[in-house]
């Protein structure tokens, strides 16, 4: 599992789920805090579609932390100010980097739950999919019709 997918699951997860995974790691290992959870800012870079150039949309409040676990490093950056969740994320990351994390199945289950919830949310939004009927017969209101014209 690549880091992006891993951190997406962890970021979306409830803090209690991560606390439980982290507690399991701490039963067998003793992580050392390298950088205690601290608030910092992330600047959001965007690409705009008109000139395809980059610009800054604004900043996001995040919490960051890093740890060491039996010689392996782990880090986390998470939106918001949840210091404990960020630290738990860093510990899980370190355990994965060390190759001693045995909660992979739990992560996959969390991912499935998260995707299921998002797809149910999608369903609510897709109910508002609209198909307007134009009352002006001459209105060129279809992208495909527009292309043919």
């Amino acid at each position: 599992m690549d880091k992006r997918r891993l951190t997406r699951i962890l970021a979306r997860a409830d803090r209690r789920d991560l606390a439980s995974l982290s507690a399991d790691i701490r039963k067998m290992h003793r992580p050392v805090i390298v950088k205690a959870p601290e608030k910092t800012l992330v600047m959001v870079k965007m690409r705009e579609p008109v000139k395809q150039s980059l610009f800054y949309l604004g900043e996001v409040l995040v919490c960051e932390a890093s740890v060491e676990l039996d010689g392996a490093r782990g880090s986390a950056v998470l939106m918001g100010d949840d210091a404990e969740k960020t630290l738990d994320m860093a510990i899980i990351d370190a355990a994965i980097n060390k190759g001693v994390f045995d909660g992979a199945d739990r992560l996959l289950a969390l991912e499935k739950e998260q995707e299921d919830r998002l797809m149910r949310e999608n369903a609510l939004h897709l109910k508002t999919m609209v198909n307007f009927e134009s009352m002006d017969r001459e209105a060129p209101n279809d992208l495909n019709a527009f292309k043919k014209a």
């Binding site: 800012l41 870079k45 965007m46 690409r47 395809q52 800054y56 998470l78 980097n97 999608n122 939004h125």
Partner: protein, 354 residues
């Protein structure tokens, strides 16, 4: 006129600050920050956008602290933001693949991926619902959870930008990708002519009322008159930063809700062979601001003699903190300079006029 330094007044000022609490004490009920964050979310979004800081809980807290005044909440968030270091920059956020919650086009009825109305007040009757006063928040939450659980999971179809289709047809310029580092208006003063990145960042964090008014002026005739909303989309965008121990890997730090707008206009080319596009993007659900930004973006590209087409006028007067700070300074003691002005008027009137 310049304001003058004064001393004294400490006790009165302390009592004045205490009095602010008195003004919030007319009820024994509290507004929980979580409730502000979730039930006044459009106001929270506006404050985050104008502060240039995406921090929902803190924006809600700021609003609670200042009796709901957006400009004071923006001030609080900006002040708080100035105490923090900025340790990261995201990879360019991929808004094309955002998790869409609303997407419409006023240019075409049928667009690839479809038009999704999402949650909008556009079609509501603007009548006060007096029953909301007796709303049961727990029951509402329970009902919505049950509704969500009853849904059949669905995937969203890809929603390519409407403008991409027109680019393929050659009706809109298809510019090549530029990786030039953006100007950051929070770090460097904007110089004129401003770069495109400085313009977009400034407009995105501008006061909603200011840029809505400017865009309105352009629509009423003090500008290019009537653009068409090619696409308005609102959705969640995943944010990624480089992984600390391997720059080639990215980590996801969460997702933010943003609104984007693209407005189509006459390009002003001699043979009328093309369309031009204005772009707007803002934190949260704030579509009028995003549309207004897109209108002004195009007005500034076009240039001209109207206020909305004057880059310095637009970019220097729309920052909530600066505009309200400057207006607020008028309340400071101007005793010396006003006295001098008064003396000058008295002198001009002469003794017979006294």
């Amino acid at each position: 006129m310049a304001y003058a330094a004064v001393s004294g007044g400490r006790e009165a000022i302390e009592e004045s600050i205490k009095l602010l609490e008195y003004y919030k004490s007319g009820t024994d009920k509290d507004i929980e920050t979580e409730a502000v964050e979730n039930k006044l979310s459009l106001l929270v979004d506006r404050v985050m956008s104008e502060a240039g800081l995406y921090a929902k809980t803190y924006a809600a807290l700021a609003l609670k602290q200042c009796e709901g005044a957006p400009e004071e909440a923006v001030f609080l968030l900006r002040a708080y933001r100035s105490t923090l270091a900025r340790n990261y920059y995201t990879r360019p956020a991929d808004t094309e693949n955002m998790r869409i919650v609303r997407r419409i086009s006023a240019a075409f009825k049928d667009i690839s991926g479809g038009q999704i109305l999402g949650a909008t007040y556009d079609y509501t009757h603007r009548l006060i619902r007096f029953d909301i006063d007796r709303e049961h928040p727990a029951a509402l939450q329970r009902h919505m959870r049950e509704l969500l659980a009853a849904q059949k999971p669905e995937k969203l179809a890809p929603c390519p930008r409407v403008s991409d289709e027109l680019k393929k047809e050659g009706l809109i310029d298809n510019c090549s990708q530029s990786d030039e580092a953006p100007h950051d208006v929070t770090v460097h003063m904007t110089k004129f002519p401003a770069t495109r990145s400085a313009r977009l960042q400034t407009l995105s964090r501008a006061d909603s009322g200011f840029i809505s008014g400017l865009a309105y002026s352009a629509l009423r005739g003090f500008g290019q008159v009537h653009p068409t909303v090619g696409e308005l989309r609102c959705g969640y965008v995943e944010l990624c930063v480089p992984y600390l121990f391997d720059e080639n890997e990215s980590i996801c730090i969460g997702e933010i809700l943003i609104t984007e707008a693209e407005c189509f206009n006459d390009a002003g080319d001699r043979d009328c062979l093309k369309l031009a596009v204005g772009y707007g993007a803002v934190f949260g659900r704030n579509e009028n601001k995003a549309i207004a930004m897109a209108v002004i973006d195009r007005e500034l590209d076009a240039g001209g003699r109207y206020p909305a087409q004057n880059e310095e006028f637009v970019l220097m007067h729309g920052d909530s903190l600066e505009m309200n700070g400057f207006i607020s300074h008028l309340k400071l003691p101007h005793y010396v300079t006003f006295q001098s002005k008064l003396d000058a008027v008295r002198k001009s009137r002469g003794p017979k006029d006294v």
